[in-house]
């Protein structure tokens, strides 16, 4: 009997000894998971039920090369738009007059976005905003103001750093502030395309078009983006038609 007890104790000692966690190891709640880059999985399809926290990994896949699609990141030398070469992320950003708010009728807060540089000859649409910055070839109505400019700049940095989800999120933030600013929709469409969701890219660009009245250069860029999106979706005829509109626009 004693022997059994001894044996049991010895076994316990050995086992618990082994099971003892490392001394001083810092206890933490482990709930971390990598970024999911599947946000665009499919339009309305709900994410799979029962996905677990730990299996919901998908690695830190926001680096475009890993996402399995051809991505056009500004600064990658491949300009996203053939018509207008993309400016580097560090391009000087012009600050325009503040137009959001009660004083604003019509399309919101116009601007300069570093990837979108319309030709200097673009006739400016009359919005009552004095053109104070013609140095970089921007039409007066295409100068962005404070919050939108700041958020587009952030999104640009995130995109350059490969964080497409972050860029997308920042652009949606901008969209909530100025839902009718076509340049925000344009940038969002660009990011969606980079994320591999050509269908949404096209839709967002089309939404942008509905707010881009009187801004032919921007319209052309949007059409060009639609053309690319249609190409990605295998719609060659649609792409050609859109490309035609892009030319007509300019």
């Amino acid at each position: 009997m004693t022997k059994t007890v001894w044996a049991a104790l010895a076994a316990t000692v050995v086992l618990t000894g082994c099971a003892t966690p490392q001394r001083g190891s810092i206890p933490v709640v482990d709930a971390s998971t990598a970024v999911s880059n599947q946000e665009l999985a499919r339009s309305n399809a709900p994410a799979p039920v029962g996905r677990t926290m730990t299996s919901n990994t998908g690695a830190y896949a926001s680096v475009p090369q890993d996402s399995g699609v051809t991505v056009m990141v500004p600064g990658d030398n491949a300009a996203p738009i053939q018509t207008f070469p993309a400016a580097p992320a560090s391009a000087p950003i012009s600050t325009g007059p503040i137009t959001i708010g009660p004083s604003m009728e019509g399309p919101a807060a116009p601007s300069s976005n570093s990837t979108y540089v319309p030709p200097a000859s673009t006739p400016s649409a009359p919005t009552g905003i004095p053109s104070s910055n013609s140095g970089n070839g921007l039409a007066a109505d295409e100068q962005l103001d404070g919050p939108i400019l700041a958020l587009l700049t952030t999104a640009q940095q995130q995109q350059s750093g490969g964080d497409l989800n972050g860029a997308s999120s920042s652009l949606e933030r901008a969209m909530r502030i100025a839902p009718r600013e076509p340049q925000v929709l344009y940038r969002l469409a660009e990011v969606r395309l980079a994320q591999g969701d050509a269908a949404q890219a096209e839709q967002l660009a089309r939404r942008g078009l509905t707010y881009a009245g009187g801004r032919p250069a921007l319209q052309a860029s949007l059409w060009s983006l639609i053309a690319q999106s249609r190409e990605r979706q295998g719609d060659a005829a649609g792409a050609a038609a859109a490309r035609q509109r892009a030319k007509v626009g300019t």
């Binding site: 709640v29 999911s36 989800n165």
Partner: protein
Amino acid sequence: MKRTRSPRSRSRTRQPFNWRSLTGWLFKIGLVCLVVLAGFSIYLDAIVQEKFSGKRWTIPAKVYARPLELFSGLKLGKDDFLTELDALGYRREKTVEGPGSVSVAGSSVELNTRGFQFYEGEEPARSIKVRFSGDYVSGLSSSDGSSLAVARLEPLLIGGIYPAHNEDRILVKLDQTPKSLIDGLVAVEDRDFWTHHGVSLRSIGRAVWVNMSSGQLRQGGSTLTQQLVKNFYLTSERSLTRKATEAMMAVLLELHYDKKEILEAYLNEVFLGQDGTRAIHGFGLASQYFFGQPLSELKLHQVALLVGMVKGPSYYNPRRYPDRALERRNLVIDLMAEQGVATAQEAAIAKQRPLGLTKSGSLTNSSFPGFLDLVKRQLRQDYREEDLTEEGLRIFTSFDPILQTKAESAMAETMKRLDGRKGVENIESAMVVTNPETGEVQALLGGRDPRFAGYNRALDAVRQIGSLIKPAVYLTALERPSQYTLTTLIKDEPFSVKTGDGQVWRPQNYERQAHGTIFLYQGLAHSYNLSTARLGLDIGVPEVLKTVERLGVSRSMQPYPSTLLGAGALTPMEVATMYQTLANGGFNTPLRSIRSVLAADGEPLKRYPFQIQQRFDPGAIYLVQYAMQRVMREGTGRSVYTQLSPALNLAGKTGTTNDSRDSWFAGFSQDLLAVVWMGRDDNGKTPLTGATGALQVWTGFMKRAKPQSLDLPTPDNIVQAWVNPATGQGTDPSCPGAVQMPYIRGSEPAPGPACGGQSPSDSVMDWVRGWLN
């Protein structure tokens, strides 16, 4: 415990056989005991370490409202801003000092934000100045004067995903804890904490002395470590063996972990109150629960209250027994002064302060069960229940507490006004508020009592929609510009059709009168049943139902003629989806309530991105919106302008079902869409039409929310043409009474000759002139 007892009792049964060598036996027994004890302590040690180094707590997911984005030009009144700050627990001070403080001077507000980890990255804590002008933010700058483009406040915590009975906590780190709390806790609960090894003979001695001399159990000798062990590892059973185990585990815990780690665990583990079925654990959550502030910002008198409550969270519950709690708090303050934690002067000031609890029922403590229900349904599609209740997820939603409060007060006001009218007693209601441009749900009411967490009518009440379907009928027609324009003349006359099952369907107008020949848009503006039904039958019921589906409604409706007048049933949320597409230029957006999800450590997990799909020609939508604006200007919705400025363009539609069983209104401005339903749960009759019931709530809400005027950009294919208001024929702008109407290019009437004689007017023309002048 069981393991150790059994060997002992076995040795006892062998006693009679070992009488001969007493000493040897004693030695053996002693040895066995020692070994058993050693084994037991190794066993305890494993338990102690396993739980302490693993995941210590399961944390329910936390749900946050939208963060308030501040920028120059934002539509936000100062009062609403201060309400939000109050809800976030900002302290009003003369000069701002430290995170979470705010000072108001005239129309400008200076504050120190707290900083927060968002999906897109971290928002730093900063010192900002916000200037207001009317209902708008007119300026935003850093306190040092430099300009600031945009800043975000931290989002309001609006709830969590709790299982039926649960511990809830907000984890805090030792360095986020006010020093006065740590020192106060040690002073009150365990003075020798920093020097003892888990148990303190001195404090046991002191406890024994106090209890002996007073003759009752007044003081416990448990150290903080022992208290932690008791809460963390053991049951609440009171026995000597449990006490011994507790002491052993306390010693073991001290052996493995340093004082700071033990103290941090204690701060997060301690039980401090009960909120319904939710147990409030840890100082982090207690601070939010009682003061609506982060722990790091608490002042001496607040710290003292929490420290005092450790002794008996129910007995000293400050909301239930304020006097008792105040007395205890002041005792703790005295003790803190005595121990040198606070100076005598600080203590004196602190004792003068009130308890400073958040009011129950203020924004902070009110819950929003209707909206949370919506969030939970979405989350349950994407996550397992355990993940939601245990992993400490942070859920960021589009909920706008300011709009929700306005919706609630509009509902309450209308209900109060209706109160006393016959048949209104059992009327229930539901409301959904969204942003038509982003598709985000901003507020939701599941019933007339916004605090009732039960039947969520906004999501689950499937009710006949009545005339709310009419825009779909007219949209279907207007998508065929070669056949229909806004000024196409249609007949509003009685008729009957044989339905499939041989019955005869004979629609009637609400006021049981026919209106003869009218313009197409008037049928919608005045919600005429006869003309709408005839139009719908001409186009084809299945075509109209296709339009309803394209508008975003997935619930199917029967292709009966009566469906044209709203015999089909939808939930308020589905109606919101349908009208969202109308409001958003024909782009359908699945309504969203969640923006993103972060893991407990701030790691981004999932996003619910903005998605749209163009479903209609912008031109056709433009025309329908025009007609829906007519509803508000001269039709069934015109009562809004008794309360709202005529400068405001709004579009909407009333809905009333047979015998007024349902009262609906769905409408939108540029930046707000709201759907209101009123009716009885038993589908009984009510005295309310869409205009006298739901529209009143809608108007009350819009009045409070101050919407932006509807301003749809004119699509490329829309032209304005001058028409004769009597005939709808093209005319010349020089003619008297000529009006401009929008048409899809190519469908406009040919320009008329410069002004000549006018054609004779009939009743319709008179009528038309009425609104033109």
